[in-house]
Amino acid sequence: MESDKITQLYFSDVNMPITYDRRKFLKKLGFGIIIVFSIGKLSLLQGWGQNDNEEIADFNAFLRVKEDGRVDCYTGKVEMGQGIITSLAQAIAEELEVPISSVDMIMGDTDLCPYDAGTWGSLTTRFTDPVLRAAAAEAREILIDLAAEQLGVPDTMLEVVDGVVFVKNELSKKITYAELTKGKKIVQSLKKKPEIKKSKDFEIVGKPIISIDAEAKVTGKAKYSADIKLPNMVYATMVRPNVYGSKKILVDSSGLSVFEGAELLEEGDLVAVVHADPEIANKAAKKVKVTWEEPAAKADNETIFQYLDDHIQESKVFEEGGSLDKGRASSMKIFEANYYDGYKAHAPIETHSATCYFKEGVLIMWVSSQTPFGTREELSKALDMPLEKVHIKQIFIGGGFGGKVYNQQAVEAAKIAKLCGKPVQLVWSRSEEFMYDRFRPAALIKTASGVDNNGKLTLWEFDIYCAGTRGTKLFYNIPNNRTRMFNKDDIHPLGTGAWRAPGNNTTTFARESHIDATAHAVGIDALEFRLNNLKNENMIATLKLAAETFGWDSEKAKGHGYGIALGEDAGTSVAIIAEVYVDKNTGEVEPIRVVCAQDMGQVVNLHGAKLQAEGGITMGLGYALYEEIVFDGGMVKSRRFNSYEITRFSKTPKIECVFIDKMDSKPQGGGEPAIICVGGAIANAVFDACGARVNRMPITPNRILEVLKKG
């Protein structure tokens, strides 16, 4: 799926249920109190827990209080490091009044869990969490009603502590959730918005809770897709071309004969070797000679920007205000600049993997996918099987960042399993991971800004080539403005897709660099200039919090520079201020310190929110300073970590994350927002440190030295 289509999904059909009869499933479930609801309708359309006449067959999330008093939460979302296995459990525990340790999260299993379009876009906390809370509150109300009946008192006399219902002021009269659910089966659809807790009553939400999966992960017990071993399983190695998009012409498998038990499998352009020993499969695959027809090279990593500029003419206006002519006329000074960003890899440490087998006509698979239900659909189409004959199982995912929205490896593994008739494991090599990644697209942004005599922005032109419009709605007060999006299908020589907060990284870099350059050109301090031109109160408060925390006015050490960037993503306002040291002789940048302030509404898990922001900033330093795919046409040359450098221990600065206190607001996104401001803040800090305005990411030593040389 193209990145812009995913953006559309955010607003149209995220979580819309596929018609799928779950009555059968409900029958199979044991006793307990089961609350079913549709997150799509509840959350996206009405915002916060209203429901219409949903049929139980249409539900797509549910919660079950079991006979032992433990709580199962079934959600189609997956855990890939972003911490929702903890924060969702936290919200449920809060509303149900049970200890967090008695909540079990069942995630992403397509037979057990309700449909979900995918774990992306920092949607979980915004849209799943409120509805789960409502369901938990509803379950609590049912349990209290049952308790009132059993204890013979009105429900207003009752209170719950740790899953035990007490009569107020008469603590010996009590009954546990386990006793209440014993032998009962109550299935209820969430119909109204139950009373959910206000922040002043929170006991668990808002508290820093350590990740509940941490122990499994530090002991090596947490299972990922490649950790599954099935009886009689074979390991597959793909035979790949050197150039992306190549078509198979001829296969010469004569070299295979020396590898006893190695089997060659072919279907269309798929060529693979399987063997019971993964190392033999690997060695044997290297001996298979395939003649490929390679597509003509369109561009390389240096010519790509001109190529995009030359080949994309069509545009759509995204936002427009006032008149550009008027803006130009009223500007004392006009500044124009282009900004560039190369292709970025997701580079999760776990490569794309899948383990699968067929059992009685059903395909069962463990797969490193951010979209288990999407993968199920893809498999059903690719193998021409009914949807219900494909079962994706719950599994941990070793980092996604958008890259595991795409699951070519799942289709490859399933086809191979079908062809060879055995259980199959396919784990992409690091080289394949780089080659078949769906990169954050290379992008070009053309900007023009104008300022009047009072230091007010009067003109803003922003033409975005291939980075999309996410996060580009103007939060600066600029009366005459136009933002356009330029794009074209199949323009990229490589696979492209969504990368943690997709193009918002690129456009935020361009906007914030240009705002800074404009402020500098008119001789106004970067903080003052922004405060003077912002219209959004949340953003102003967030920036002020960042500036205070950072100490914007503090004295800089020699060779050090400070840089600000602001951005909006997933409902969250972000302000980042970075300090770097630049060695003017070598162009080397040392990130010293990053302060990040966020207005993300209610912070469900303070600790988790910090982890996500810190992680985003650390990862973001990579795209700002080091990461760029080197390629020639479809030939990806950056195929390992020594040629595609990501942030390391020694490059990680001190990071401090602070949040606006808004515990009574709706929670907003946390997985992506912080990362978008890293490029801009670093670019501006580099300029402040050494005077080099580098308009292309990554901001490498060579690019800094080139600008410094030009003077």
């Binding site: 490649a226 980092g399 990501i646």
Partner: protein, 158 residues
């Protein structure tokens, strides 16, 4: 022709039948079913497969199984003793020094190896000793803090 290679894995004597030339990571994960050791790159760039061989941290994707004959190997599965987490594991949990968890085993094993060599590592020494281990989720600062906490606890016990 298969040959038998013997070594100690997490304190237990082990013999595996191999053809030779297999990478240790494959034998640990596939033959011995110890899947806590992770494949991240297969060429020694990322450190996800780090284990200890005779107390030295080593990338198990870069060493052949026959080279560990007679040696003592410790993997992440070998750190828990009598049901108790090792101080490094405890500190990783306490500092939440992980997100997706895929680099974690390698991080912990590399840190363990460093601390066995020098129990009083400075922050700078931790950074340089850990620098070849990659984490994409961005937990580096927390990992450094966790290693410092663990070092303190390990030294108090000694």
């Amino acid at each position: 022709m298969k040959k038998s290679i013997s070594f100690k894995l997490n304190g237990k004597p082990i013999s595996v039948d191999v053809t030779g030339g297999e990478f240790l990571i494959t034998v640990i994960r596939t033959n011995l079913d110890q899947t806590g050791t992770k494949y991240g790159c297969g060429i020694g760039d990322c450190g996800a497969c780090t284990i200890l061989i005779d107390k030295e941290p080593v990338r198990s994707c870069m060493i052949f199984v026959e080279d560990v004959a007679g040696k003592e190997i410790i993997t992440i599965e070998g750190l828990v003793t009598n049901g108790f987490l090792h101080p490094i594991q405890k500190a990783f949990v306490a500092h939440d020094a992980l997100q997706c968890g895929f680099c974690t085993s390698g991080m912990i094993m590399n840190a363990y190896g460093l601390l066995l060599q020098n129990p009083e590592l400075t922050r700078e020494e931790i950074i340089s000793g850990m620098d070849e281990n990659l984490c994409r989720c961005g937990s580096y600062n927390r990992i450094i803090d966790a290693i410092q906490t663990a070092a303190t606890e390990m030294n108090e016990k000694m």
